[in-house]
Structures are given as structure tokens and as C-alpha cells.
Amino acid sequence: MDAVELERVRNARNGDAEAFRAIVETYSRPLWRAAVRVLGDPAAAEDAVQEAFLRAWRALDRFDEQAELSTWLYRIAINAAIDHRRERKRRDALTGPLPEDFHGQVTSQSDMADPHKQTYWREMAGHAQEVISGMPEAERTAILLRHFEGRSIAEIASVLGGGESAAKQAVFRAVRKLRAVLGPLMEMSRGETA
């Protein structure tokens, strides 16, 4: 953790709200991105991130200064998002679903100008989203953090609360599940276009 961030943490711990404000402003966006991948709903992701910052504020005393602040905050945000997701599932059972998850929002692929390829990647992204949504929490968290957030295995282990070996296995299982669905679909489409 760099000196500026460490000072912010120490000041925030002493009740300095402005120091915490700097932390909130620095991490709102990355935590929101992580939360929206778990929840699939931008508004719910904001709720989860708000909850995460409040949990972080209350737990600052227990933050280990040897650890990375970003990893610690990711862990809290993903847990808050998972809690939110569970709660939403229960609510859905009573009141019907909230806005649908985003599925396969296709962005920058180098060949996006080609409408056929765009459709192809959108379909693949939709299938990937479905697979990820159906994964157990540890695997979903592992693949989201490794693939989308570029977090290391060591950081994922810290978020999941297990060892590095368990984090690796969670990534492997997640990748295997994705490949089991995407591989045959890609093969099929290559066969069709051949």
C-alpha cells in the first residue's frame, strides 16, 4: 500500500471523514464494476457498494496495514454484492423479479465492425454470462476477479478467505465450466462457416 493510501486509512480510522471520502472516491468505480458483475443490475450494484463502504468504515480498526487496501475493499464489496444477490433472490420469490441482468453487453472486439461477428460475440458473451451466473459463489468471484479485474491468485485467495491453492482450483473449475459450454459452440459455428 502506498504512503498516501496508508495515511488516508490511518486518518479515517481516527474518524477523519474527509480521508474516507478520498477512499470512497478512488474505489467507487472499481468496486461498482465488481459488484455489477455479481449482481447484473447497475442500481443494485450501487446499493451493494454503499453497503460495502459502510462495512469498511466500521471495520477499519481491523484492517491489516500489511495488506492491500484494494484487495480488502474488493472482498467486502463482493461479499456485500453476494448478500444483496441472495436477498434479491428471496425477494424475487415473493414479489417477482427486479430488472433483468445485463446479458452479453458486447463492447470492444477488434472485429466489431462486422455485424455477423458482432452477433456471434454477443451470443458467446450471453452464453458466458449464463455459465458465470450459474457458478457457485467462490468460482464466480474467482473468475470475475481474475479475468475482469486482473487480480492475482494471492489476492483472490484473500478475498475468498482460503489459501492460494483453493483460489487456483476455483479459477480452474470456473474456466473448465466456461470452456465446456463455449468450446463446442465455437466449434459448431466454425463448422457452419467453413
Partner: protein, 237 residues
Amino acid sequence: MAKRPDEELILFFYGEHDAPEEVERELAEDAELSRRYATLTRELSALDSLEAPEPRPGLETRMWARVGPELQPETARRDARSRWILWGAGATAAATIALVGFLAGRTYRETPTESAVVAHLKALPPEARDRVLQAALADHLDASQRLLLEVANGASPVDEERVWAETLLSANRLYRRAAERAGQHRVAAVLSELEPFLTQLANAPETFDLRRTQEQIRHEDLLFKVRITRNNLKELS
């Protein structure tokens, strides 16, 4: 050449392999390995199409506007904790007595029976009855939420918290039964879930292992349920 398992290729793909130079060399020399790696890369590239949407503009400002007012200076919070716990217990007891007294149409010195409370509750016009019950319940859930937060954040039950939990427990039982009889089944369900935690905390021994209780609070989403129910009640009342 020993066959590299897919797991090693995944680690290499993510830049986590212990010996990346070796893998690179083998990829250059081994056509089969190179083909397998190309397939892995192609399949995982489908994930790159799955970009998250951008947040609405002003996320950082909006987030601080939501978080800032909820913060309490930590040091002040620590100093205030004991006073606050006592206030929580007192306020809950007062709210319970006020509700019971109000519903029973008696002074709080004459503790009414539960059936008298319910009879008076039923005798009120439906709107007034609901408002009274909702406001009192919202206060009760507010106090319960604060106690759960203390425990979830690692505070061991000390004497003051045990007294607080005992007070909340008696109030909880009364409210749950009143809610059941008044047909507020969802509220009654949340109160039923809350009751075992309050019982545990009220009866916590000196050497109380918090971890199981914290895990239960987390696993059962109790804080979310209490918060949502409280918010709904406050909006209604």
C-alpha cells in the same frame, strides 16, 4: 516432452505460471501444445465481450452523498458506545411500554396483558392500528439492527449488550405475537428469525464464541431482512 496440463496453460494465460519462459519455449516448439493454447485463448476471449456497463455519470459524488451522512467519527463512536447501548435498551423498553400502554389505553404502570393489547389493537380503526404498530415495530427493528451490527462487527456481548438483548427479546416476543394476530405475517416472520439471535445474545456466557453467531447472521441475511422490513415500515408509517 511431458504434456502440460490445461491448468498450467490457464496459469500461463493469466500470467501466474511459475516458469513462463519454459512454457513459451514449449509453445514455440510443440505444435500440439500451441494448438491447445490457441483454443484456450479463443474460448476465454468470449469473456472479453462481456464488458460491464458504465455507471451513470457522477458515481463517485453520488456514492459519497450516500455514504458520508451515514458515517460517525470512529473515536466518538467508541466513546459513545456504552451510552448508546444503554440508550438503545432504554428506548426499546420505553417504546414497548408506550406501545403496550397506548394500545391498552392504560398507564404504563398497569402492565396490560397481551390479549388486552391485541383486543385494543383490533378495536382501533385499521389505518390507525397499522400506523401505531408500524411505527413501534420500526423503532424496535432499528434497535435490533444496531445490536446485530455491533455483533457482526465483532463486539463481544458484554453485560450492557446482554441487558440490551434481553430487553429487545421481550419486546420482540410481544411484537411478533401482536404482528401475527394482526395479520402482519411478513413482519412476524422476520421477528421470528430475529428471536433466536436475541435469545443467544441475551444468554451469552462470559466466554462467548462470536464466530458462529456472526456466520449465522451473515448466512441468513438477517441484517438485510431487518433493514428492509424497518425501511418498509418507516415508509408506511
